[in-house]
């Protein structure tokens, strides 16, 4: 990642950006986010297959944003998140520069978000084989079996909201669960509160989730909550020709076609 480090240094030295968000070696063989504000710190930047945290979660974090223009080390999932965030007016060319890393681990710098979008659009979002298998398995179950599966999986959730915190798309200052007038979702962690929280999370991410698995990776209990958003992704493919983040906006769930097909409305 010599190129990345070199470019990060230049960007800081020339004051093109105030902070470069990247990965550094963490503790116990983990990697973690690094915020480079001084050129000499750029030497700590690194990249390898362990760098799976979706750094796009930081571009909407108040304390990071307040630093000024950002550059972000972006793998394909991060780029997708950035495009989705841009289409929701959370970032733009004036406050964000993308230092891309291709799926082949090559450094690639983008001049603007349109170039990022073009790059991103070369790839479709595909659900990995293991999860695909899990989805198929669940779909073959009876509703009662699925109900049992999800109650079993979701009941251990203690609602730490790590899934929400790690998700780049969960940037709302006040999440639905934080509303108490009305109290949409019960605050305590119990069967009902957990079930409703996870259903709500999934539906709010439908048409926005780029399938980076940040939520699953963040979960301290490894609850397979990403299956919910993966299912929505599959459905989007089935009903609306798939989902691909786009600067043009026109989100899956905020648009419609007069000839959308369904088979359940009487």
């Amino acid at each position: 990642m010599v190129d990345l480090i070199k470019r990060a240094k230049e960007l800081i030295e020339t004051s093109t950006v105030k902070v470069v968000i990247g990965y550094e070696q963490g503790t116990a063989n983990k990697t973690r986010a690094l915020f480079v504000e001084k050129a000499e710190d750029a030497d700590k930047l690194m990249f390898d297959s362990r760098c799976v945290q979706n750094l796009a979660a930081y571009v909407t974090k108040r304390e990071v944003k307040e630093k000024g223009k950002m550059a972000i080390t972006a793998t394909l999932p991060v780029m997708r998140s950035i495009i989705q965030l841009a289409s929701e007016f959370q970032v733009n060319d004036n406050n964000l520069l993308v230092l891309g890393i291709t799926p082949e681990s090559k450094f690639i710098e983008f001049g603007n978000l349109v170039e990022v979008e073009t790059f991103v659009h070369q790839y479709t979002i595909e659900i990995d084989a293991r999860n695909k298998e899990m989805l198929d398995k669940l779909e073959k179950m009876s509703p009662a079996e699925r109900w049992k599966f999800w109650i079993d999986e979701l009941t251990p959730c203690f609602k730490c909201y790590a899934c929400r915190a790690a998700c780049p798309m969960c940037y709302c200052h006040r999440c639905t669960v934080d509303f108490n007038q009305p109290q949409w979702i019960p605050v305590p962690s119990h069967e009902l509160g957990n079930l409703e929280w996870h259903i709500m999370r999934a539906i709010h991410l439908t048409g926005r989730c780029i399938d980076c698995d940040a939520c699953y990776n963040a979960c301290p209990l490894s609850i397979p909550l990403n299956l919910l958003t993966k299912k929505m992704l599959e459905d989007a493919k089935e009903h609306f020709g798939g989902y691909q983040p786009s600067l043009k906006g026109g989100h899956l769930m905020s648009t419609y076609k007069p000839d959308d097909k369904e088979n359940f409305i009487q």
Binding site: L192, I199, M200, K231, D235, Y256, I265
Partner: protein, 149 residues
């Protein structure tokens, strides 16, 4: 034991289905009295969460109904709603929520008879399904002591 009377909550739009239900009444068409109607400006306003809240509070079935496509008072509210229902219904089904208990329909202001049919059919099918004990068990959390862990 008395026969099970399902509780049905109907989320309907002001302009078509509510007016349609009104017509059912003024036309003196009799239909099942199990339904509690909640009027919304538009089906586009019906939040996902409202459906879950209805089950929380003990509904056994839900009817969601609005204007036919192209008839929305606000031009496209029902188109938006339709798209959301497609996804939300699938998500509910995926989590094991009984989607047989959520009926979607288009009922115009002129379709008083259709409204009666929808309600009657829903009541009949929910009566067959029985009370929604799965959800109630989960929602009635306070009834049982919290177990450790």
């Amino acid at each position: 034991m008395a026969e099970f009377e399902p509780k049905i909550v109907a989320f309907v739009c002001n302009w078509c289905t509510y007016a349609g239900a009104d017509l059912t009444g003024t036309s003196r068409i009799k239909y099942a009295s199990n339904v509690r109607i909640i009027r919304f400006p538009c089906t586009g306003r019906i939040d996902y969460m409202l459906l879950l809240k209805a089950f929380d509070e003990g509904a056994d079935g839900i009817i969601v109904s609005g204007c036919h496509p192209n008839d929305c008072h606000y031009t496209s509210g029902n188109f938006h709603a339709r798209r959301r229902w497609i996804m939300f219904r699938s998500l509910c089904d995926f989590t094991g929520i009984d989607t047989e208990r959520i009926k979607f329909s288009w009922v115009s202001a002129a379709e008083g008879a259709k409204w009666a049919d929808i309600v009657n059919a829903t009541v009949t099918s929910i009566r067959e399904l029985g009370p929604y004990t799965d959800y109630k068990k989960v929602a009635k959390y306070p009834e049982k002591e919290v177990s450790h862990g």
